[in-house]
Amino acid sequence: MLFGPAFAAATAGKAAAARRMHRLVAWPAGVDGTVPLGIIVAAGVIAFLCQDFPAYLPVWAPWDFSWLEFLAVALGAWWYARGVALTPAAARPSVARRLSFVAGTALIYTVLQTHFDYMAQHMFFLNRLQHLAMHHLGPFLIALAWPGAAIRRGMPEPLHRLVDDPLLARVLHVIQRPVIAGAVFVGLIDLWLIPAVNFKAMLDPRLYAVMNWSMVVDGLLFWCLVLDPRPSPPARASFAARMITIVAVMFPQIMLGSYLTFTNRDLYSFYDLCGRLYPTVSALNDQHIGGIIVWIPASMMSSAAFMLTLNHIRIVEDSVPPKAMTEEERRMAAAARRWTGR
């Protein structure tokens, strides 16, 4: 997915090419070292402030600072920006794709590393919105941006060996099989909503981090599999297999969401015990709204992905040079063009 074979192919001339690319943009000396250092220093300052002065931080500051989450987002965004700048202008991702990357990354960061996290810990339906953002919409937007090549280009050379490692490709090859990817996608949503598991994950900071990481990573793996704009190969699965997967994951989410919406028993006691953000919203109301979020927006993402895949198929088919046609076929194609516009 992110680091597919398309860009792993370049080997020998890589360093030379990178040096050439450096020359393409006016890259002030020292920036490559300063920015990551600045990110780490900023993380240290934020970590200190969050630790000691949680009550005085603004809502956009982290509630529960996580080094891993902060650095993953900040370094990922920096590598992407650097990678795009180092890409020859003609090959750069479009502005829409760049915006899609920024929006997806900002969304994941917002739900995890601002005070929204506190709100999501104390309202079930906001918790569902958090999961929707970090497992569906955020990774979906990042996958649409198809940022793998740019991120790889932007990261330090020694890391290239890591992302090009055949072992990583083999692991991805297994977990990105449509059947496994679809089962894990739905399975993770279900797993963290098992009442006993949910209770424990909300109270245990370690398990909470595992839950959030598993959702974000799985979201990226899944949406990068199904939204791959390329045909197979090099994409991991055919367009047909991916479309079946997209539709197949919709039904379990509809079932789960409607179950939560129509259940008249409070399944998630954590929120009652540890307090709701809005105590006037009853446990059942909270759960019902949460159920609707699992049910409707989450499964609507499948419809969006389905249509985007149809568009990918169209683009791929249009890029295939037309074969030699007989006079009769040419006339029919010309007639068809009048109303299809293709």
Partner: protein, 218 residues
């Protein structure tokens, strides 16, 4: 459609992935009368002012005691007095053992709950209750650590002064390790006898072994 067929290897991989997760399901219905949170809630840690002595205290000062921790405020009209009354009744059932138990009443409304107010309030329920007062950061740190919600909204022309807080009581062992979460004492159908049983059991638990002590450090 290559790569779409289910192979036995895939199924095995999926099973291998799912099995440890299935085993990780915690059981809420344990032998305890309350919710067992041992091993997954952070251990007791805070830094506040003790209203009974007026001196700064930390969790270390309560080592050796069984500690119950509850968030509230003295002007609470219903939930706090009800809950504290139920805890006091549970402690009465412990008899002499109650001397080894402390309830920490952490105020979320320090502006109005001054040290003398807090001291007088807790004393009305039980001598084993300790009022704790902290600044905004000290309260936020406790709330974050134990995933508790609270808010104080000063009065405006349209709204009266409003305070919200969680209802759970955490129980920590003599070594500060997390033990239980008590849900029922904040309700009108409290399990006072069951809670007294649980507390007695924790008070007479054998000293934790080396592994338990090591794991309590994390």
């Amino acid at each position: 459609m290559s790569g779409f067929g289910v192979r036995r290897r895939d199924l095995l991989a999926a099973l291998a992935f799912a099995a440890p997760l299935a085993g990780a399901r915690p059981s809420l219905a344990s032998a305890w009368h309350n919710i067992d949170v041992a091993g997954y809630v952070p251990s007791l840690s805070f830094d506040m002012t003790d209203a009974t002595t007026g001196k700064p205290v930390t969790a270390e000062d309560f080592r050796g005691k069984l500690v119950l921790m509850y968030l509230g405020y003295t002007q609470c009209p219903d939930v706090c007095p009800l809950t504290l009354q139920h805890v006091a009744e549970a402690l009465q059932r412990l008899g002499k053992d109650a001397a080894d138990v402390r309830l920490l009443f952490v105020t979320v409304d320090p502006d109005r709950d001054t040290l003398p107010v807090l001291k007088q309030y807790t004393a009305a329920f039980s001598p084993d209750f300790v009022g704790l007062r902290g600044d905004a950061d000290q309260i936020a740190r406790v709330a974050r650590r134990y995933r508790l919600a609270y808010s104080v909204t000063p009065a405006t022309k349209a709204h009266p002064y409003e305070v919200t807080h969680s209802s759970a009581i955490y129980v920590f062992g003599r070594d500060g390790s997390p033990k239980l979460l008590i849900a029922s004492l904040a309700t009108t159908s409290p399990d006072i006898a069951g809670t007294a049983d649980d507390l007695r059991r924790l008070l007479h638990a054998p000293k934790p072994g080396l592994i338990a002590r090591l794991s309590a450090m994390f």
